[in-house]
Symmetry: C2
Subunit: 322 residues, 2 copies
């Protein structure tokens, strides 16, 4: 056990975050949520918690925060209901679990972990995922719990226009800037040097029922492997799947000898070549931290080797002593 | 257009194929199916068909053949019904489409292609996938169409023993060797040098409803990219997901400078390290063909640069002039 190994990074989504649309009160709420969740995760790591436990807990808290697009406050599909995607991966063993298009788990990331640890499967989709949550007596919630007024209004607007949009689509940056945003995720390195990653999302507003993005696709939205890196992605999921983004970061380090920062930049460039935007958070096996994005901003917070908590939405970074 | 570029490889699954259990008549039926499907695919390539069209058509024919575990003859889940997974990827553009746990498409691979070409999504799961098939008026079939007597008997046996098994589990190699097998897939290189890959499966016998393996996971069961390779995998899907097998073959070539054969062997070794068995078929950007497996056998047929059709189940290869 070596507490100097601890690292944490979390995100609440990347995208075309129009600064003008984000009023001061709302921005402060986002920043406070990121700061609180990251600092609690850091404390847990310093108390010896495993990277796996810490990323699950951080994502649970991000799912509970109603302004992010995951768990409560997730966007609505074309039927006007949430369909939740999540995944988790343990860098020690490459064990992984994921769910796609689940409608009832209060904490989709915990259901993903249950798939990993309590079944012989990796990925459960649709009603089958909800049935597992029920069988294991995991916390479930009725449809109303997940739906916020803002998300319902967004889906109605998208449906009227016949569009499927990203959660942060400029469409929603109207004069009333009630525009919740963002897939969420966490990556961590614990005092034993183990890595883990987890991601959770409601996907795209007004999406076709059953549509899954990169979040439940191990290798696209999430990867963790102690020898190289832990990665959680956010953005236009289809392009991330077609780039196998998270595994591509691993592969550039493992086979190409790239640094974590080089690997993240190269992998994200592959998404950009296809026309996709978004970002990712990553921690390397030597404790490096990278949080690149090719959109206007990304909600993020992290603690690096210097023990300083950093919180940012755009390029400017706020520092907080811990 | 250069007809010397054409290559085709197809598979009907890999696994513990007990030779003693495969009687002569059944083995002849498998070989005839592989030979017919591969030779028709080859003819289409020689007539200028695209790799994408050819892999879709080959997989449709493999789905129709009731002894393979895909489309008609797919294994049954714990509810006693089929849930079908499929994916397709176009090496020209890295466009991709996939479906998981669909219950009605007569040809799941064609539904995957419709997701790729007729929606803005890559992956549709569960009932949402069936709804797309209905909306696009793709061919659908009632539950009875898919279920064969052998698969129903296998699921009942697995359920009685409380097991989730591979389609080729030795459990089914009883004195009456009616043991249909295998995920199916195809990879091709056309006269323009473009690559494509497609895969289709019913997954594991007595699986939890909603369980998806590597087949619908782009980067695990399927990958195609003109710069490197086209890959279709078969085996114990959970281990293939945790290895991002298909993208790993690409990455070893792209970043590590491996040959196709080296990349396939290295990627399959990663699956083996986790305890997984199976195989893959792959065509490289220079026309190389590789068909490795770490199980006792793999149903496969291919045409290499010499224009000879080869068909094999175990190590011995039968050659047919075309």
């Amino acid at each position: 056990m070596d507490l100097s190994r601890c690292r944490i990074a979390i995100h609440g989504g990347a995208g075309v975050i129009d600064r003008a649309s984000l009023d001061g009160e709302r921005e402060a709420a986002f920043r406070a949520a990121l700061e609180g969740i990251a600092s609690r995760a850091w404390l847990a790591l310093k108390q010896g918690a495993s990277a796996l436990d810490v990323v699950e807990q951080a994502v649970r808290e991000l799912e509970d925060f109603p302004l992010f697009n995951a768990g409560r406050g997730a966007v609505l599909n074309a039927d006007g209901v949430v369909e939740l995607d999540a995944s988790i991966m343990d860098g020690r063993s490459r064990a992984a679990g994921a769910v796609a298009a689940a409608r009832t788990p209060t904490h989709p990331v915990t259901l993903a972990r249950a798939v990993m640890e309590r079944t012989e499967h990796v990925l459960l989709v649709g009603e089958g995922a909800d049935r597992l949550a029920e069988a294991l007596k995991l916390e479930r919630s009725p449809p109303d719990y997940f739906v916020t007024a803002e998300r319902a209004a967004q889906q109605k607007l998208a449906a009227r226009l016949g569009k499927v949009t990203l959660d942060h689509d400029p469409l929603y940056n109207g004069p009333d800037p009630k525009d919740p945003r963002g897939t969420v995720g966490a990556v961590a390195r614990d005092a034993w040097g183990h890595l883990a990653a987890a991601t959770s999302t409601g996907g795209m507003t007004n999406k076709h029922p059953g549509r899954a993005g990169d979040t439940p696709v191990i290798g696209a939205g999430t990867w963790a492997e102690d020898a190289t890196c832990a990665v959680s992605a956010t953005g236009h999921g289809e392009f991330f799947i077609r780039s196998a983004l998270a595994h591509d970061v691993h592969a550039r380090m493992r086979y190409g000898g790239a640094s974590l920062a080089q690997a993240c930049a190269g992998a994200l460039a592959r998404v950009g070549e296809l026309g996709g935007d978004g970002g990712l958070i990553a921690i390397g096996h030597e404790g490096e931290v990278a949080l690149p994005y090719n959109s206007e901003g990304m909600y993020r917070a992290w603690v690096d080797g210097d023990g300083v908590l950093r919180v940012a939405i755009y390029a400017e970074v706020a520092e907080h002593a811990l």
